[in-house]
Symmetry: C2
Subunit: 203 residues, 2 copies
């Protein structure tokens, strides 16, 4: 049991500490802008430990990326596979669930979108989300709603993209729009009412 380092911060192994710091810094600044020394400092550990536990910056990043992707997805997949909830409810749940998620992890959306482009598009294949989505209750309900003429957008992926865009964009676009319009910060507070703006014609 050499794993207890009671001296300093926590009931937390150094490996966890490094990962947590890496997650924080990576998500905030992206892979390229992150220096291993940033992570080491944030974690309060020696630089060499990063390479001791994880072999390289890339390896560590890949782990963080996968975990981030997974955390982002499981929420969605869970809701989409609920047989009991209606489509309307699902949309609301996805919206409110993701809004909560983004509030807790403000940097994740842009982080994922950015890093997915440059580096790690292939990482998605390591996650079993494809099946989770492809035969979900959501898909069936959506198809039915389209047939009944309740939803204009026939492609479920477009529907999902539009929904996610409505949820995510106010957050990632905030600094830009804010800079443009010079609107104050608390005017943005109401953003989490966004769920009521999402496809209001649904019900």
């Amino acid at each position: 049991m050499a794993s207890r380092n009671n001296s300093k911060i926590a009931e937390q192994t150094t490996e966890e500490r490094i990962k947590e710091a890496a997650r924080k810094v990576f998500q905030k600044k992206g892979f390229a802008a992150t220096r291993t020394r940033d992570i080491a400092e944030e974690a309060g550990i020696n630089l060499a430990l990063l390479n001791y536990y994880f072999r390289s910056k890339e390896k560590l990043f890949e782990i963080i990326m996968l975990e981030t992707l997974f955390g982002f997805m499981q929420n969605l997949a869970f809701i989409m596979n609920d047989d009991k909830s209606t489509l309307q409810t699902k949309v609301e749940l996805i919206a409110s669930g993701y809004i909560d998620f983004i509030i807790r992890n403000p940097n994740v959306p842009l982080f994922m979108l950015s890093e997915m482009r440059a580096n790690s598009g292939g990482l998605l294949k390591k996650l079993p989300i494809k099946q989770l989505v492809s035969n979900s209750a959501f898909l069936k309900q959506h198809r039915k709603a389209v047939e009944e003429g309740k939803i204009a957008e026939p492609h479920p992926l477009h529907f999902l993209m539009n929904l996610l865009g409505l949820i995510v964009f106010p957050f990632i676009g905030k600094p830009m729009l804010q800079g443009i319009s010079g609107v104050s910060d608390n005017q943005f507070k109401k953003i989490d009412d966004a769920k009521e703006e999402v496809y209001p014609g649904l019900d």
Copy 2:
């Protein structure tokens, strides 16, 4: 028309060549991931010329960023200040105009969103877009439409964000959603019909 070096690449001064290369690489990979040597190579010039014409990587980036911002904005501002077009038409114009813009500059949205966060939020203040938007015809028409109950979203900024999100997100989210769902590329081709999906209940 004397000084024409028609032999090689272009009717283009090296300074322009560097800027063009810088725009391309910066927009694609972001500031941190871009090496000055990448730009030099892309431009087909000697590395030192980059510092000869533009003093540093930062300076060059700032120029590219400002120009990108401006190009992204002037389109919007122009449409929003047209007194003759209706709000409905404006929305359609903004949508189709931006879709065209994004198709021509696929990397710009994510580039702007990413770099705005980390580096250069203050650059927006160097552009006279604030006024252009704040007393635009769009704003008045939007207010009127809200009073008449034709638009649910009362805040023009939210309205704009939702609109831009609907336009932009399918593009920047494409690699992600595509990876998740494993959908083919040509299924995404129809994306530019997005304008018809934007606030369909308006008319």
